[in-house]
Amino acid sequence: MDIEKYIASGIIESYVLGIASSDEAQEVEALAAKHPEIKKEIASVRDALESYALAHQKTLPAHLKKKILNEIDKLDSGKENNRAKVIEMDTRREIGSGSSRWLAAASIALLVLSGTMNLLQFNKLNDANQKIAALESEKSVLANEFNTLKANYTQQENDLAILSNPLNKTIIMKGVEKQPDALASIYWNAETKEVFLAVNNLPKPPADKQYQLWAIVNGKPVDMGVFDVIDSLQRMSEVEAPQAFAVTLEKKGGSAAPTLEQMYLLGNI
């Protein structure tokens, strides 16, 4: 797999920001274990965000520490009391005699029982709390996944609106000698001059190259912008009265004039 490309996709940032889906997070962790570059990238993104957090640090009111530590003490005191009670009864065992011995024994038994019950309840509560925490994190994972799906859906809906707009004229661009099976479609709106491009079949360009769309207007090529090989429709520059559309492979970012020997697609209106 292409590690550089993976890092450049922005997934590491999503992972460190905690907005990657659970599948993505697992993938990042698995890859980080195998590839030191990814591990390094994670550390570097994390450092940047930590510094950003540090840049916002603020002095706190002095009384707050005591208040918070007290609160934590209170949380724990329940647990410690249970233990303390059992020990206390142990020392009292020496005092009683006769029938009070029975009473003492019975009450010890009851206290031990109640202490055990408390402990059981406490453990149950702990379990429940952990389950809640697990459910909460599951919920946020699902919410993230839902948002991704929603975004995909919106994208598809937008694409469908363009495809089904009767004012859009469809121009099929077919592969020329260089790549006979290449195919892409243009949706051109004569009223708004908007141009959308769908890549149906084009090989992925090398990393330093990009495809560029041209419109032929009055016999001359007009730059319509560069594009990537992706599934969704891409908005290109607007054009009035094109006679044809063509695609060439150019250096990344595009060229001022088309390199004709690198022509991949051509479609007349």
């Binding site: 940032e13 570097s44 510094s51 950003y52």
Partner: protein, 176 residues
């Protein structure tokens, strides 16, 4: 980061052993950052104090869930503080209110909350391009997803993703 403990391992071990001095040390080392992060999200000092307390209770209760192999203690603490604060504003329906607030108010608040003891850190935030800062703040401090940022800033989703990357890259360049 000169005031952060060098020996996180020891701190983690004593926190997991439910040693109270661990939580006290964590408070001393990290609470100004955690408080700053929380304040950035909840906006009011009073709420931030409450949220900080909740966050520390969570840190204490879920210490055994911290997994050092998945990241540093500092990151874990910041995440607990962020999530507690984000839960707080969401539960109180503050979110809607915040989103409609003008960003000017937000920006003004920023300049007050710097701790100028830490030379260089103030510059980090000032050097960051405003666009990039806004994107990092929305995601990092307010828990927005990519999709929500795209909606809020009316940008294509792909653009948001690449902007997040560019923003963090810029942040990295400033700090190194």
């Amino acid at each position: 980061m000169n005031n952060l403990p060098r020996h996180e391992d020891t701190l983690v071990a004593s926190l997991k052993a439910k040693d109270k001095t661990a939580i006290s040390n964590i408070y001393d080392y990290y609470s100004p950052v955690l408080f700053g992060v929380i304040l950035k999200i909840v906006k009011s000092e009073q709420s931030a104090e409450d949220v900080l307390q909740d966050a520390f209770v969570k840190i204490w209760k879920s210490a055994e869930m911290y997994d050092a192999s998945k990241g540093r203690l500092f990151t874990w603490l910041i995440n607990i503080a962020r999530n507690t604060a984000i839960d707080h504003i969401r539960s109180k329906d503050f979110k809607k209110e915040l989103r409609t607030e003008s960003n000017l108010v937000y920006a003004n608040e920023d300049t007050e909350s710097f701790n100028t003891d830490h030379i260089g850190l103030k510059e980090i935030v000032e050097k960051l391009k405003p666009d990039n800062k806004e994107i990092i703040d929305l995601i990092y401090f307010q828990g927005y997803t990519h999709v929500e940022v795209a909606e809020k800033l009316s940008l294509p989703l792909g653009t948001v993703k690449s902007k997040v990357r560019i923003s963090i890259r810029e942040l990295r360049e400033i700090i190194t």
